[in-house]
C-alpha cells in the first residue's frame, strides 16, 4: 500500500513539475528568440473595438517611420475588444506595451494594478488623448421623428437605443453627454436633471451591453428611432448605407480616448523607446490625418480645421473635468447605488 501512496505522490508531483517546466521552457524560448533577432522589435498595442481600422492604417506609417529613424524592422501586434475587458486583461497580465483605450478610467485601473506609473495622463499632449470624439445621434433617413437635440429624445413616441453605461465604457460618455445638456438646460437643478435622465432612459428600448450590440439593434434589427453613438462610429455606419443621417446636438461631451505606455511591460521587455515613440508619433501631422480619415477628431487644431466639412465644429463640448474627473463621475453616477441605479428604481 505504501508503495502505491508514494506512486500517487510522485504522479501528482510529476504533473505539477511538468506544467511548471512547460511554463519555464516557453519563457526561455521567448528570450532566446529576442536576442537572436535583435534587428527586429515587436510591440503589442491593446486597444478597443472601434479603433481596429484606424490602427491598421497607422501601424503601416509608423513602421516606415521607425525604420527610417532606427533602421529596425518593427512588428506591431494589435488586440481589440471591449475597452473595460481589455483593461482587465492587461491588469491581469496580458503583455501590452501600449494601451489605447476608450476611457481614462480604464487605464487608471491598470495604474491601480501597479503596471503603469502615476502621472501618465501628462506624459503626452492633450491629456494623452491624441484624437478625440464626441457623442452624436444617428437617425433614420429623412429624420421622421424630427430629432434635433437631446430634448427631443424624451418625447413620448421616440424609441432610443444606447448601450448600458454599467457594462460599456463608451456608453458612459453617452450618459454624461445627456447629463451635460440637462445641466445646461435646467441651470444645474439636480431634481430636474434626474427627471430628464429618467425620461430619457425610460424611452430606451434596448439597453445593449456594448456599443456594437447597440448599433446592431438599431441598424440590423431596425429597433428605435435614434441611436446615441460616438461620432466616429456613426460616420462608419453611414459610410456604406444611405438609410441614416447624423444629427449633431447643441451640447455634447468631449470624449477623450486615452493612450499610455505600460511601464512594467516595456521595462521588462526593453521596448520603452519604441512604445513611447509609437504613441508620440500619433501626434504627427500624418497620423492626425489618419485619425481624421477614420472620423476621430484630431487633437491638432489646425488639422481639425482642415476637416471642418466633416466635423461640426460649432458644437458646445463639455469635458469630463466639469464632472470632477472620471473617479468622481464614476462614483456619483455609475457605482452601485449611484444615480444611474436611481434612474431605474421604481
Amino acid at each position: 500500500m505504501k508503495k502505491i501512496k508514494l506512486l500517487v505522490w510522485l504522479c501528482t508531483l510529476g504533473i505539477m513539475a511538468g506544467s511548471l517546466a512547460g511554463c519555464g521552457k516557453q519563457n526561455a524560448k521567448g528570450t532566446s528568440k529576442e536576442t537572436k533577432e535583435a534587428s527586429k522589435i515587436t510591440i503589442t498595442n491593446v486597444s478597443y473595438d472601434p479603433t481596429r481600422e484606424l490602427y491598421e492604417a497607422y501601424n503601416k506609417i509608423f513602421q516606415e517611420h521607425w525604420k527610417e529613424k532606427t533602421g529596425q524592422e518593427m512588428e506591431i501586434t494589435q488586440s481589440h475588444g471591449g475597452s473595460g475587458k481589455q483593461a482587465l486583461e492587461v491588469a491581469n497580465g496580458l503583455q501590452a506595451d501600449v494601451v489605447t483605450l476608450a476611457l481614462e478610467y480604464d487605464i487608471k485601473s491598470i495604474e491601480d494594478a501597479g503596471l503603469i506609473e502615476k502621472g501618465w495622463v501628462d506624459e503626452f499632449e492633450h491629456d494623452s488623448a491624441p484624437y478625440t470624439s464626441t457623442i452624436v445621434f444617428l437617425v433614420r433617413k429623412g429624420n421622421p421623428k424630427n430629432i434635433q437635440d437631446w430634448g427631443d429624445l424624451v418625447k413620448k413616441d421616440v424609441g432610443v437605443i444606447t448601450p448600458n453605461p454599467k457594462t460599456s465604457g463608451g456608453a458612459r460618455w453617452n450618459y454624461l453627454a445627456a447629463w451635460a445638456y440637462a445641466n445646461h438646460t435646467f441651470g444645474g437643478d439636480e431634481e430636474q436633471i434626474k427627471e430628464f435622465m429618467k425620461a430619457l432612459y425610460h424611452n430606451v428600448l434596448v439597453l445593449d451591453s456594448g456599443a456594437r450590440g447597440a448599433t446592431t439593434s438599431f441598424v440590423e434589427n431596425g429597433q428605435g428611432d435614434v441611436l446615441i453613438a460616438w461620432e466616429n462610429e456613426a460616420y462608419l455606419s453611414i459610410k456604406d448605407s444611405e438609410d441614416y443621417e447624423i444629427v449633431t446636438p447643441s451640447i455634447s461631451i468631449l470624449a477623450q480616448p486615452s493612450v499610455a505606455v505600460v511601464d512594467e511591460v516595456v521595462d521588462e521587455r526593453g521596448t520603452r523607446e519604441a512604445a513611447e515613440e509609437y504613441l508620440k508619433y500619433l501626434y504627427s501631422d500624418e497620423a492626425q490625418k489618419i485619425a481624421a480619415d477614420y472620423y476621430y477628431r484630431p487633437s491638432n487644431p489646425d488639422i481639425l480645421k482642415e476637416y471642418s466639412d466633416v466635423f461640426n465644429l460649432n458644437i458646445n463640448l463639455v469635458t469630463i473635468e466639469q464632472f470632477g474627473g472620471w473617479d468622481k463621475a464614476q462614483e456619483v453616477h455609475f457605482a452601485d447605488g449611484g444615480i444611474f441605479d436611481e434612474i431605474y428604481e421604481e
Binding site: 500500500m1 502505491i4 501512496k5 506512486l7 500517487v8 505522490w9 504522479c11 501528482t12 504533473i15 473595460g84 482587465l88 485601473s109 491601480d112 448600458n164 454599467k166 457594462t167 460599456s168 465604457g169 430606451v204 428600448l205 434596448v206 439597453l207 445593449d208 451591453s209 450590440g213 446592431t216 439593434s217 440590423e220 434589427n221 431596425g222 429597433q223 464614476q330 455609475f334 457605482a335 452601485d336 447605488g337 441605479d341 431605474y344 428604481e345 421604481e346
Partner: protein
C-alpha cells in the same frame, strides 16, 4: 489483502490509490482550485456586506429573471428533448443521421452568434417576430426572448441524456404490457417513463444549470432592461466592469451554490430511482 490483490488484477485501470490520486489532482486543478478562488475573493467582504450585495433590489430582480427563464426553458426542453430523443431512437426516416448530428450544433456555435441570429429573427422587424408582432406579441427584448435563447442552448443536454436509455429500452417490454392489457397512456406512465425518468432529470438539471450561467446568447436578445430583462450574469459583468471583483464573485457564488444544490438534488433523485429499479425499496 490477498483477495483484494486478486480483485485488483481484474481491473483495467490500475490500483484505486493511483486512480484516486490522479482523479483528485485533475479535479483540483480543473474544478476545485478555480472555484475556491471565488470563495477566497468573496471572503474579502464580511457577512453583512455579502448579504447587502446579494439582496440589492436589482440583484434580486435579476435572480428572479434568471431562475424563472431557466426553469421555463429547461421544462420546455425536458418535454421537447424527450420527444426528439424518442423520434430519433424509435423511427427510421431519411435524413435521420443528419438530424441526429444537428442536435449538438448549439454546443458548437459561439453563443453570441446564436444570440444575434435569434434576435434578428424575433424582433418585430424579423422573420418570425413580425408574424407574432401582428398578434401584438413581442418576442425579442422580453423574457420570452430570453427563454427562447435558453431553450436553444439547453436542448442537447436533454436529448443526449435520454437517448441512450431509450436505445437500451427494448420495445418488447411495451409489447408485453400491451398484451397484458395496458392502454397506451398506461404503458407510457408505468413502463417507459420510470426507465427514462432518471436520465430526464439529469438532462433537465444540466440544462437548468447551463441556463443559469448563460451570458453570450442572452445579452443580445434580452434588451437588458433593469428589473425586467436583466439577467444575473449581466449584473456580474457590470460589477467586473467597475472592477468590483468581490461583489461580482459574491453574486456568482450564490448562482453556483443554487446550481450545485439543483444538480445535487437531481443526483439524489436519480440514485433513489436507480435503487428502486434495481429492486431495492
Amino acid at each position: 489483502m490477498k483477495n483484494r490483490g486478486k480483485a485488483k488484477k481484474a481491473r483495467v485501470i490500475p490500483g484505486f490509490g493511483l486512480s484516486a490520486g490522479v482523479t483528485l489532482t485533475m479535479l483540483s486543478f480543473i474544478v476545485i482550485i478555480p472555484l475556491a478562488s471565488l470563495v477566497i475573493y468573496t471572503a474579502q467582504m464580511d457577512f453583512h456586506e455579502f448579504l447587502h450585495t446579494i439582496t440589492r433590489a436589482r440583484v434580486l430582480a435579476s435572480f428572479k429573471v434568471s431562475f424563472l427563464t431557466a426553469l421555463a426553458a429547461s421544462s420546455v426542453n425536458a418535454v421537447m428533448g424527450m420527444i426528439l430523443a424518442w423520434v430519433l431512437v424509435r423511427y427510421e426516416f431519411p435524413g435521420k443521421k443528419i438530424m441526429d448530428g444537428m442536435i449538438e450544433l448549439p454546443f458548437a456555435l459561439p453563443t453570441a452568434v446564436a444570440g444575434i441570429a435569434l434576435t434578428s429573427l424575433t424582433t418585430d422587424k424579423g422573420w418570425i417576430g413580425s408574424i407574432f408582432a401582428g398578434w401584438g406579441i413581442q418576442i425579442a427584448y422580453t423574457r420570452v426572448g430570453i427563454t427562447i435563447a435558453l431553450i436553444f442552448i439547453g436542448i442537447p443536454f436533454v436529448v443526449r441524456s435520454v437517448q441512450p436509455v431509450l436505445e437500451k429500452l427494448e420495445p418488447s417490454y411495451e409489447e408485453a404490457a400491451g398484451v397484458l392489457g395496458a392502454g397506451k397512456a398506461q404503458i407510457f406512465r408505468q413502463v417507459i417513463f420510470p426507465e427514462v425518468r432518471p436520465a430526464l432529470f439529469t438532462g433537465f438539471g444540466l440544462a437548468f444549470a447551463r441556463c443559469l450561467g448563460e451570458y453570450g446568447s442572452v445579452v443580445f436578445i434580452a434588451g437588458n432592461k433593469p428589473y425586467y430583462t436583466e439577467i444575473t450574469p449581466l449584473i456580474i459583468m457590470s460589477e467586473l466592469q467597475e472592477y468590483d471583483y468581490t461583489s461580482a464573485t459574491a453574486i456568482a457564488l450564490v448562482m453556483l451554490a443554487v446550481a450545485f444544490l439543483i444538480l445535487f438534488a437531481m443526483s439524489l433523485i436519480q440514485a433513489k430511482n436507480s435503487k428502486i429499479l434495481r429492486g431495492g425499496n
